[in-house]
Symmetry: D2
Subunit: 360 residues, 4 copies
C-alpha cells in the first residue's frame, strides 16, 4: 500500500513484472467520455520495450484489455479497469537475486519492509509496473483533450550531452526522443557505448503541458507544483524535479527572473515563463514546464559488491538480463502519464471539468 493516486480522478495500479497481469483501475473519470481500447493501446506502445537498440531488447507486446467502465463506446461513470496479461512470464530463473540485493535497486527496501519479495524480474519494483501509470495517463489525456490540453515529454540531456536547438516536432524522429537531431545522434551513440560496456547512463527529461487554465492547484498542501513533484519523483529512477528554472533560481536575483505581467488583446500574459506556469502553487495560464533527473538504470552486468542476506556475508553480483542502458526515452511516456493524471485531478477539482459527466 498505497497504490492509488488522486482524490477525485483516482488511479490504482496493480501487478508485478512476472505475475499473471498488470493494470490499473481508474475511478472518477466523468461519464460520457468517448474512450476505446485503441486510445490506451497507442500510449502503451510508446512505453513498451524492444522497439529500438537504445532500449532493452526484451520484446513485450503489452496488449490492453478493458474489463469494465465503458458502455456503448463511452465511459459510464463506473471504474475503468485496464489489464495487460503477461505472456511467458516464467522464462528465466531469478532465484539468485533472492538474497543478494542489487546496489541502488529497490529490492533491499522491499525485503526490509514486507519480508515476502517477488524477485522474478524485479516484482512490483520493476519498471513494468508503470504499465498501470500509462493506462491511467491515457485516459487522463483523453479527458484533458476535451479541454484542449496537450502534454509532451522529451529528452533534453543524456550523460553530458545537452540538447540545445530543440524542435518539438522532431522528438519522434529518433528513438531517444530528443528534439535536437544532432544531439539525438550523439546521445544514441553514448547509450550504445555504455550498453556495450555493461553499464548504463542517466539523463534529463522535460515535460510541457499546454493550454492549462489559470487557477489549478490549491494553496498550502495541495499545490499544483507539489502534486506534480510527487508524481514525477515517484517514477522509478527519478532523483530530482524542477518546475520552471528549477535549481537555476539559486544564483539569480528577483529582478532577473521575476515574470512580469502584460496585457495583449485583453489576454493577461507574462513576458517570461521562469516560473514554469506555476506561482504560489497555482497555475497562471502559462505552459507548465517540469524537468526530471533520471538516474542510470541500476541493474548492470558489471561486477558489483553486495551482501548475502541469508549468510550475512559480503559477496559480489553480476546482474544478467537485457536491461535498458538508458531509461530516459521510455520514461517519457510515464512522465506524460503522471503529469496527465495530476492535471485531470486538478481540472475536475477546480471546476473546469464536471465531476460526473462530460458536458459539451
Amino acid at each position: 500500500m498505497t497504490n492509488t493516486t488522486g482524490k477525485i480522478f483516482k488511479v490504482t495500479t496493480f501487478g508485478s513484472s512476472h505475475g499473471k497481469a498488470l493494470g490499473a483501475i481508474i475511478d472518477g473519470c466523468p461519464a460520457n467520455l468517448e474512450l476505446s481500447k485503441e486510445d490506451i493501446q497507442k500510449e502503451l506502445d510508446k512505453r513498451r520495450p524492444g522497439t529500438s537498440a537504445v532500449t532493452t531488447s526484451r520484446s513485450e507486446k503489452d496488449e490492453v484489455k478493458i474489463l469494465s467502465g465503458i458502455f456503448e463506446g463511452k465511459t459510464d461513470g463506473t471504474p475503468i479497469t485496464g489489464v495487460v496479461y503477461n505472456k511467458n512470464q516464467h522464462s528465466k530463473d531469478y532465484s539468485s537475486l533472492k538474497n543478494t540485493p542489487r546496489p541502488s535497486h529497490g529490492d533491499f527496501g522491499w525485503i526490509s519492509k514486507y519480508g515476502n519479495y517477488d524477485y522474478n524480474g524485479g516484482g512490483r519494483e520493476s519498471g513494468r509496473a508503470t504499465i498501470g501509470h500509462v493506462i491511467g495517463g491515457a485516459i487522463a489525456k483523453k479527458l484533458l483533450e476535451t479541454q484542449n490540453i496537450k502534454i509532451i515529454s522529451h529528452v533534453v540531456q543524456i550523460g553530458n550531452i545537452k540538447a540545445e536547438d530543440i524542435n518539438l516536432k522532431n522528438i519522434e524522429k529518433y528513438p531517444v526522443r530528443c528534439g535536437d537531431l544532432n544531439k539525438a545522434k550523439e546521445m544514441e551513440e553514448l547509450i550504445l557505448t555504455k550498453k556495450e560496456e555493461g553499464d548504463s547512463v542517466g539523463g534529463i527529461v522535460e515535460t510541457i503541458a499546454l493550454n492549462v487554465p489559470a487557477g489549478l492547484g490549491e494553496p498550502v498542501f495541495s499545490k499544483l507544483d507539489g502534486d506534480l513533484a510527487k508524481a514525477l519523483m515517484e517514477i522509478n529512477a527519478v532523483k530530482g524535479v524542477e518546475i520552471g528554472l528549477g535549481f537555476d533560481v539559486a544564483n539569480k536575483t528577483a529582478s532577473e527572473i521575476n515574470d512580469e505581467y502584460y496585457i495583449e488583446d485583453e489576454i493577461i500574459k507574462t513576458k517570461t515563463n521562469n516560473s514554469g506556469g506555476i506561482v504560489g502553487g497555482i497555475s497562471n495560464g502559462q505552459p507548465i514546464i517540469s524537468k526530471i533527473a533520471v538516474k542510470p538504470t541500476p541493474s548492470i552486468s558489471k561486477c558489483q559488491n553486495t551482501i548475502n542476506l541469508e549468510t550475512k556475508e559480503n559477496t559480489k553480483i553480476e546482474i544478467e538480463g537485457r536491461h535498458d542502458p538508458c531509461i530516459c526515452p521510455r520514461i517519457c511516456s510515464v512522465a506524460e502519464s503522471s503529469t496527465a493524471i495530476i492535471l485531470a485531478e486538478h481540472m475536475i477539482r477546480s471546476g473546469f471539468i464536471h465531476p460526473n459527466k462530460i458536458i459539451c
Copy 2:
C-alpha cells in the same frame, strides 16, 4: 482547500498574514507524548523574522498558545491546536496591491481561483502561513525524538557562493545558517548588497535526517521520496527538489554512482549514499538527504512591469515593505518541519511508532 497534509499524522494549518491568528491543528499524534508550549515556541523562534540584518526587519514575536490536546503535560490522543495571535495586524495600507498582481507572486493565481483575495500582507500566500508548518513540525520532531531521529536544514548556496567545507556544528554561528564559516561571511555580504539594491537573491538549502530506519515509504504512489518532494516543493519559493545526487545523476553511469552494500559488525551499510537514503521509494537506513532550490523573494522594491486587473491596462509597481532579501536562512526551519511531518507520518504508517499511544 486543502490545507491538510498527512493521512495518519495530520497537520491542518490556517490563518492569513494580517488576520486574527495563524496556527495549526495536529490530529493523529499518539497519546502520552510529553509536550509543552516551549517545545513549539523554540521552533517558532528559529522561523521568526527580525532577528538579524539578513532577514526582514519586521519584528514579530509569534507566541504560541495551545488550545487543546494536552492533558497533564502529555498528549491525550485528541487534536492539538496551536495558535499564534497576530498583533497590530492593520499597520499599513495594502490596498494598492488589490488590483496589481506582483510579478512571480502568488496573488494573481489566487485572484483567478477564488475571486476574494485578502491582499493585506499577502494574505494566506504570505510566508507567515508557514507558522502552521512549524507548529506541526515541532510536534513531529518531538515524536521522532522518541525514536532518536534528528533533522537538520542548512544553507549550502546563496547566489553563486557555494559552501564547500561544511561543519554542521557551525550552522547556528551566523544568521545565514551555513556550516562553512568563510562562505557564510560572503553569503551575508551578498545578501546585504542585494538588500541595498532593492533586490533579492536565491539559494539552496539541504536537509539531513539521521537515524531513519529502513522500510519507510510505500511502493508506487506513496513513496517516501515522492511525499518528501511534495512537502518540500509546497514550501513557498521552492522551485526544485533533489534526493541524494539529484540532477547530478544525469551525467553519471550506474557503475559510478550505484551504492554498493557491505556488512560490518552485522549491520548492513552502503559504501556511498548517492541515493540520499531512499531507493525505490523506500528508505534504506542511510541518512535521508534532500536539497531545495529557493528562488529570490519576488517582492522587491525595484520598479517592475505589471497590469491593473480592474482597468485592464499595463502599469508599473514598486513594492514597499521590509521583505527578506534572501529567504534561505528562515526557510530552514520550514524545511525541517515539512521533513519531520512526512517522517512522523511514515514512522506511524510503517509500524515503527504505535498509532494511538507512545509505548516505551
Copy 3:
C-alpha cells in the same frame, strides 16, 4: 485521530469539555459566501444547554470567535476557524472518575485506547465536543441556502410517547422540539419525572432535508445514505439510523412500498417517499428523511456497579453533576449540522456548487 469529516468540504473539530477552547476548522468552503459570526452563533444558541428545565441546568454561553477565513464579510477560500473559549472550566473535581469507568459511557474505551484520559467533564467524549459539529454545520447550512436547501430536525418520540399529529411549524414552541404539541407536553413531563428519579430517557429524532436535487451520492462506497448513516451514528448516544421507512421495510412487500414515478408539469415525482429520498445510494429529488435512535444519557445519579481500574476490584458509582435527563431536544441541532455537512460535501462533489467560489 481522526477528527476530520469530508473530502472536499472538510470539517475538523478540536477541544475537550474543560480544556481552553473547543472549535472547528472548515476547509473547502467556496470563496465569496457571505458569512458572519452571527450565522454561526444562532446555531450554537440552539445547541447550548441551560435554556430550559428539560436540559441540563449547566449554563454555558458558548460565544464563537472567528480566527480566520473571512475577508470583507465573505469567505475567501482559506480555512475558516471558529473557536469557543471555555469559561470557568475548572469548577469541579472530577478526579473520582479517573479510575471508575461509567457504565455505557465512552471513558472505558478511551482509556483502553489512549492511556491518557482527560476525565474532566468527560474530556473529548463530552457532548460539548459537538460545538465543533455545529460550527461546521452552520457554515454548511449557509452554503446550502444558496441552493435553497433547508434542513430541520425534530423530536418524534421520547420514551414510549410518540408524536402523531406533527406540524413542523410548532417545533420551536416547546423546548422538547416536538411538532405535536399535545405529545410535546407529555414528553416534557416524562423527562422531568426521569430527572427527579436521577435517571434519563431515550427517544427518536427525525431530520428532513428539502430541495435536495437528484444525483447526489456515488455508487458503492460513497453512497449518500452511507455517508449520512455514518455522520448520524457518530453523534454521541445514537444507536440506530433509518432512511425513509427504515426498519419498517422488514415486514413489507415491494408492491406495498415501492415508490412509483409519475410526471406532472414536466417534473418527475414519486407517489410515495418510502425510500426517504435516496435510492441505490443516490438522491432522487424527494425530501431526504432520516431517523436516529437516541439512547438515554448514560451519566445518571442512580447508584451503578462498575470497577476500579487501578485496584482491579468491583465497586459502585453515583455520578454527580447536572446531566441532561434526555438529550433528544439538544441533539436536534447536531443532527441538522451533521446532515448539512454531508450535503454540502456532496453538492460540491456532484458539481451543483462550484468547488472554489460561489457563482451567482
Copy 4:
C-alpha cells in the same frame, strides 16, 4: 466514483452485471498472510445465486481468478486483484429498461447523475456488484482470523416472522440462514408465496463479530459504529442500521440499559451488552452486534406505474427476469464481508495488526 473503501486496508471494486468481469483490488493487506484462491472462492459460493428455491433461479458460477498480490502462497504487500469473468452476459434484451426507471430501483438516480446508463441486468447498480465486496471481505476475514476474530451474519426476521429461539449452529441448515429452525421453515414458505405472487418481501439480518479487542474506533469522525453504519447502509436494499439495542433504546431509561462493568478472573466484562460492543465509538471488548433492515427486492413482475424518460409520459412496467423474492439470505455474506473490511481496517489502524507484514 468512488468505489474504494478504507484508508489503510483499501478495497476498490469494479464491474457491472453484464460487463466482461467484476472484481476487487485489495491494497494494504499486510505481507506474509497465507492466502489461496479457495479462501476467496468459498465466500463467493455463499453469495452466489441459484442454489435454492428462496433465491433467484439464475445460476452463476462466479469463479474467482487472482491476477496479482500473491507470491509463493502468501500475500507480498502488493495489491491483490481478484476477478470474476462473466459468462453468457448478453443472454437477454434489457433495452426496454433504458428509459423506464424501475420504482425504488437505483436506475433513475444513475441516469440523473451520469447520463450514460448500462441498463443490462442493472449495470453496476446490480446486486452482482457485491462480488467485489465478498472478495475483499474474504481477504479481510483471513486477516482477522490471525487475531481469532470471527464474523457471522444470520437472518432474524422475514416479513412478520421473527426468529426467537436462535442457535447459531443451525444457520447453515436451511437456505434462509435463520438459526431458529421452526421459524426458518415459516420464512421459507412466506418467501415462496411472495415469489409466486410476483412480489418480494423484506427482513432483518444480524451480524455478530466475536473476539474484537477493546480500543478499535476513533473518537468523533471515525468511530467504529459510524464506519460500520456506513458500510452496512451502503449494501444495496439496506434502509436501517442498529448497533446493540438500536431503536429499542428510545423507550428505555439509562438505569434499565446501561451496561455495568465487573471484573472476573482479572478480565473486565459487562453484565449486559445493550451497547452492542461499541460505546463512544470505541469497541469495549464485548461482541459487536449490528442489525440491518433489508427492503423487499424492488424488481418485481407485478405491474407498476412509472414514466418514460424519453417521451416524458406516464407509463407502466412489468419487470421480467428471475429476481430474488427475498434478498436477506444472500445478503448475509455481504454483511459479513462489509463488517470484516471495516474491522480489518481498524485492527491495523489501532496497532493490533502490523501494517506491513504479519508478525507471529
